[in-house]
């Protein structure tokens, strides 16, 4: 694999760009692997990458039903933050955020991490108290956040209507090193790194069954034939329950549609990420100039990757009150992704009732920001068979034991 650098660009410029190679190989599946990971989204690919880099396990296949990064990795609003209330969440999301800082260098692939800063607006007194508490918790957790007053919010976001009639901005939780990254590039960068380590990335290969003998996983059946494996990692977000059903167990997960939309591109007017949880919308401006807007989930089980009109209307209506200039914009595209919601709105990184099968799911509406940390912790879990410190609190047993990591309260909604 050729290393990407300024010299490579210069060399290729001199020979009409004839020497670029494909970023990853697409081989036919082998008969057997040490580890098979189902799901070539960010989390699955990051898991594979850190299995190789941190644990020396390279006989790995990543199986994908559709195309690489075509699920929620390519459907999110690319926000990265780690300002969580609970200690286990702050630990894994901050690990992810800190890995994002150097991910482009580590992967030799530009993921366009942009730590432009992130604001979570407090628009009710309840939120003011909640976010002040989060700032204190983050100080103890070593996550850099601060509480800022409305005057500072106005400086950071001139296009915002601070003194709206219904929801005035009373301040904000500011994470200066939060931001965005190029979501596709994260998947592509990890895929390229995995391929360079000799791992097989197999796209358009749907899992049709899981073979188990004596309580131990033996392999999987796919549309491209049977594949044996010693360990199986299910990292499939919205379809986790479907895969778990094949393996004979149930998960505390419900799949729902979450949608987002982007406006036509406009000149730069917003250089931070703004989340407004009371009115339920979040907003950032992409490098192309589009306003990227995230909305809420539907309340019912849904696998259709479609949005719904009333959620678009709800989200836009709410944001227009805080950002009046948005009312003049046309919306270009709208799409949906299927998110895997757990009861406590925290993820699951866990062993399962079947030996050798591990799950990484339940990231719900906020998985993109966690990709590097999730992969790091999941690789440790798969390699050692036991969770490391980052994953320890996120086991399936927390539901039986009542040890919830309650971010539905902490994060409000958008998450």
């Amino acid at each position: 694999m050729t290393r990407y650098s300024v010299f490579a660009v210069a060399r290729e410029a001199l020979r009409w760009h004839s020497g670029w190679q494909r970023a990853w190989h697409s081989p036919a599946p082998k008969k057997a692997y040490d580890v098979v990971i189902v799901g070539a989204g960010g989390h699955g690919l990051a898991t594979a990458c850190y299995l190789g880099k941190n644990h020396g396990i390279r006989n790995v296949a990543v199986i994908e039903k559709g195309w690489l990064g075509g699920g929620n990795t390519g459907r999110n609003t690319t926000i990265i933050r780690s300002n969580y209330l609970q200690d286990p969440s702050a630990a894994i999301y901050e690990k992810a955020r800190s890995l994002y800082e150097t991910l482009s260098q580590d992967l030799n692939y530009n993921v366009m991490f942009s730590p432009r800063g992130l604001l979570m607006l407090a628009q009710t007194h309840h939120e003011v108290r909640g976010y002040r508490r989060t700032v204190h918790a983050n100080a103890l957790q070593g996550v850099e956040t601060r509480w800022i007053e409305p005057a500072r919010v106005r400086e950071l976001v001139p296009i915002m209507n601070i003194a709206g009639p219904r929801y005035p901005v009373l301040g904000a939780l500011h994470q200066p090193r939060g931001g965005t990254a190029r979501h596709d590039a994260v998947a592509w960068g990890y895929a390229r790194a995995c391929s360079a380590m000799g791992m097989d990335i197999i796209q358009q290969c749907e899992v049709t069954g899981v073979r188990i003998a004596g309580g131990q996983v033996q392999g999987i059946d796919t549309t491209k034939g049977a594949i044996d494996c010693r360990k199986l990692a299910l990292v499939v977000a919205g379809h986790s329950s479907v895969l778990a059903e094949m393996a004979g167990f149930r998960l505390p997960i419900e799949s729902m549609a979450l949608q987002a939309l982007v406006s036509e591109p406009v000149k730069p007017c917003l250089d931070v990420v703004v989340m407004a949880n009371t009115v339920h919308g979040y907003l950032s401006q992409s490098d192309k100039g589009e306003m990227v807007i995230g909305g809420g989930t539907d309340g019912f089980n849904n696998y259709t990757q479609r949005g719904s009109w009333q959620h678009v209307e709800e989200t836009v209506r709410a944001l227009i009150e805080t950002f009046p200039m948005l009312s003049r914009l046309k919306m270009l595209r709208q799409w949906g992704g299927i998110v895997d919601m757990t009861g406590d709105r925290s993820p699951i990184l866990s062993k399962t009732p079947v030996g050798g099968i591990f799950v990484n799911c339940g990231w719900g509406t906020g998985g993109f920001k966690a990709i590097p940390g999730s992969g790091w912790a999941m690789a440790e879990l798969v390699a050692r068979g036991e969770p490391g410190p980052l994953a320890a609190e996120f086991g399936l047993d927390r539901f039986r034991e009542g040890r919830f990591i309650d971010e539905s309260v902490a994060a409000g909604v958008a998450h």
């Binding site: 329950s241 419900e254 539907d298 479609r306 539901f399 039986r400």
Partner: protein, 107 residues
């Protein structure tokens, strides 16, 4: 947009009129059951890609709970029925089998 007919008042209600209430026909567990059974009742969900029975409330209408049989992969609605039943009625099951040959009710 999802449209369900409320079996109580007969109104064809679209989803903004309705409040979703999760999986239907859960077996209630409580004192005397094992931790595992209680965990299943509280948290484990079928969450199928396909036929799904679920609870809804006609929140901005008659206010009553009802149940719906729906396909989560296509948003097709097979029928709705009152919540006062411990399992899907025969006409709903027949409607599902007519459109999903080979479908099994499961437990």
């Amino acid at each position: 947009m999802l449209i369900l007919t409320c079996p109580h008042c007969g109104i064809r209600a679209e989803e903004t009129e309705l409040a979703p209430g999760g999986e239907a026909h859960l077996k209630r567990r409580g004192p005397g059951h094992s931790d595992a059974a209680f965990e299943d009742y509280m948290f484990a969900r079928k969450n199928p890609r396909g036929v799904h029975f679920e609870r809804w409330r006609h929140a901005h209408g008659c206010g009553k709970w009802f149940l719906a049989a729906r396909c989560t992969a296509t948003l097709e609605v097979f029928g709705t029925y009152p919540a006062r039943t411990s399992g899907p009625p025969p006409d709903i099951l027949a409607a599902i089998r007519a459109r999903r040959p080979g479908w099994e009710a499961g437990e």
